[in-house]
Symmetry: C2
Subunit: 343 residues, 2 copies
Amino acid sequence: MRTTSIRNMEEFASFSGISRPTVSKYFNDPSSVRRSTREKIERALERCDYQPNIFAINQNRKLTKNIGIMVPYLADPFFAEIARRIETLVISSGYTPILLSSHGDADLEVDNLNSLRAIKPAGVLLAPLGRASNRGAIESFCADFPTVNFDANIEGVGEAFVGHNNAQATAVMLQYLVRSGEPPVFFEMRTPPNPNANKRRIAYIETMEQLGHSPHVVQADGEGWEIEEIGFREGKRAIANRELASGTVFCSNDRLAIGFLAAAYEMGIRVGLGDDCSLRVAGHDNHPFSRFTCPTLTTISHNYSAIAARSVETIMAFIDSGTRASNRESMLFDGELIMRASA
Amino acid sequence: MRTTSIRNMEEFASFSGISRPTVSKYFNDPSSVRRSTREKIERALERCDYQPNIFAINQNRKLTKNIGIMVPYLADPFFAEIARRIETLVISSGYTPILLSSHGDADLEVDNLNSLRAIKPAGVLLAPLGRASNRGAIESFCADFPTVNFDANIEGVGEAFVGHNNAQATAVMLQYLVRSGEPPVFFEMRTPPNPNANKRRIAYIETMEQLGHSPHVVQADGEGWEIEEIGFREGKRAIANRELASGTVFCSNDRLAIGFLAAAYEMGIRVGLGDDCSLRVAGHDNHPFSRFTCPTLTTISHNYSAIAARSVETIMAFIDSGTRASNRESMLFDGELIMRASA
DNA sequence: TCTAAAAGTTTACTCGCGTAAAAATTTAAA
DNA sequence: TTTAAATTTTTACGCGAGTAAACTTTTAGA
C-alpha cells in the first residue's frame, strides 16, 4: 500500500498499535522488545514507509550511531581502498560511516574535526596528515571522542594505533633484494607528506648496515601529494645525474615507484629481472595500480584487510565498553612481499 | 579565555548580551542582523567555543545546508578526483558536503539514497551507477529532493544533467588517430559498468563510417569495476588471438587502456609512435594516472573543472530559487585531446 | 492456578533551536 | 526634533524523539 503517510513516531505508534515509548525502544534495539511486539512493528513498517527522524533522535542522545572516518587524501587510491573496506565494516556493524578527506590540507583537517564534533560521533577512525597536522586540535578532539588512529601514527594521540609494520616490511624487501642481486639505493621524498616515510628510511639504513652494506639514500625534491609527478621528475634527474649508486632502486612508496618507472621508461632504461634489463625497481604499499605498471611492480603489501578490520574492532570495543584506553596500544601488521616483474 | 562552558544558544545569547532569536537569526545569516549586533556576537564567539547544535537546527528546518554527493565507485581515481573538486566547491558555497560511494553495488546505491533522505539535503549531486541502478528508487528520490545528475546520464532523472560530450570527444580522438596513422579498432567491455561506454561505441562506429572506414569493435569479457584487470587479461587474449584488425587501439576508457598497456608490455610489444613500435594505444578520460603509464597515454580529457563547477552552480540555482526544472536541461562539455607518447 | 518477573502503557518532562507575533527600541531620513 | 522604517526583545509554541516514573498487562515458572 504505502499510501498512509506517517509524519512521526506518534502516528506510527498508533498505526502499529504499539505505544510510542515501546516503538522508540524498538528502534534503539529491536531485540529489547518482546517477539510478538517486534513482529507487530515490523509488519506495520512494511505497510508504510516511516523512518525515525535522525535529527530528533540524535538531539537527546549523548552518543550517536555515527562513526567518523577521516583520511588525509581520498584521491590517493591507497586511502580510497582502505576507506572502502572500513566503510563496509562499519556499516555491517550497524553504524553509519561519515567519510571525510582532508585533501592534504591541515586547515581542512581541523575543519573536518569540527564537522565531526558537530555530529557527536560514537567513535572516530583517524588517519591524520602527520607532520603537517595541527597536533593540538587533534589532541583536544581525541579527548572528547574515542578515536582510533590508523595508518599514520601520531604518538599519544587517540586510544590506540593500528598500522603497517614499516620496519619489518622494509627489512623483508631489503633482504629479498640483496639476496637476489645488488643492494638497493633508497629513493624517497625529501619532505614526504606521510610520516611512514621516515620509518622506512630508518629501517632501510639499519637493515643495510646489519647486512653489511652501506646505505645510499636518494632524495627527491617537491612538496605535496602529486607523488607520481615527483617520482617522475626527480627520477629522471637522478638517472641523468647518475645519482643511483646501484642498479636496484627501492622506492619509499609505490606512487613514487610508479613515477620512477615512467621516468626509466621514457629514458629508454629497461626495468626488470631479464638479461636485457639494467635496473630493478621495488616499491612499498601494494598500491591498487601496482599490478598494472610496466613492468608490474615488485612491492610489499600492507595487510589491508587486517588493518581495516582491527581498526573497526578496536573502536567498537571502546564504544561498547564506554571506557577509554588506560595505556595506548600500538598494533602493527606485517607486510607481505609481492614479487612481480620489476625486481 | 575559553573557560566559560556554554551549553546552548540560550546561554550563549545571554553571554553575548543579545536575545536568543536574534542570535538564531545571526547563525542563519550573519548579514541579516545589524552590524553592531553582529560584532557583539562575533566578539562573544571569540571568547567561548559555542557552536549551535546541528541536530536541533535541522530538526525544524525543512531545508538543511547539506548537499549530498554520490558517486558509483570512489576507489576509482576518476570519481575521487571529480568528487574532490565538487566537495571543495560545495564548501566554498557555504554548504556541507556529504560524500557517499555506492561501491559499485546497486543495493548500496539505494541504501545511500535512503541515508540522504534522512538528512534532508538541500540538494544532491548524483552520479548513478547507470544500467544497474534501481531507476524507481532514484526517480522517487529525485521527486523529493532537487537533484543534479552528473557523469552518467539517466534520462529523465533529476533536474538537469551535466556531463562529458562523449560523441565529440570520441570523434576528435578518432580524427586524430586516422589522420596520424591507421584507423583504430575500438576496445571495450562487453558489459561496461558505466553507461558512457555505449555512447562511445556508437560515436566510434558513426565517426568511422563518416570517415569512410569500417569499424571494428573488440569486446572484453568480465563484470564489475576491476577494469584494469579486465583490460589486462582480455588485452592479452586479443593480442594473442590476433583479434586486433589494426595496429591502433582506441580503448573505451583509460582504465581499460592501462590494463591493455600492461598486457602489451608483458607480451613484449612496443607501444608508441617510434619506428620500433608496432602498436598505438589511446584512451579516454584523462585518468589521473594516465600521465604515468609506459608509454604515457594519449587520451581525451573530461573538462573536470567545468563539469564540477557547472554541477554545483546548477544545484545551487535550484536551491536558491526554490523551483524545480520545467524542462530537464542536458549540459555537455567538450573533451580535449591530450597527446602523449602512446599514440 | 497462583505468583513474580518481564514487558508494555500512560503521562509528562526534556533537549536545543526555529519561528511567529506583538511590543519596545534604535536608526536614519525628513 | 519628528517620524517612519528597520531591528531587536519578549513571549510563547512547536519539532520529533529520548526517557523516567508509576501503573497495568502479559508471560513464564512453580
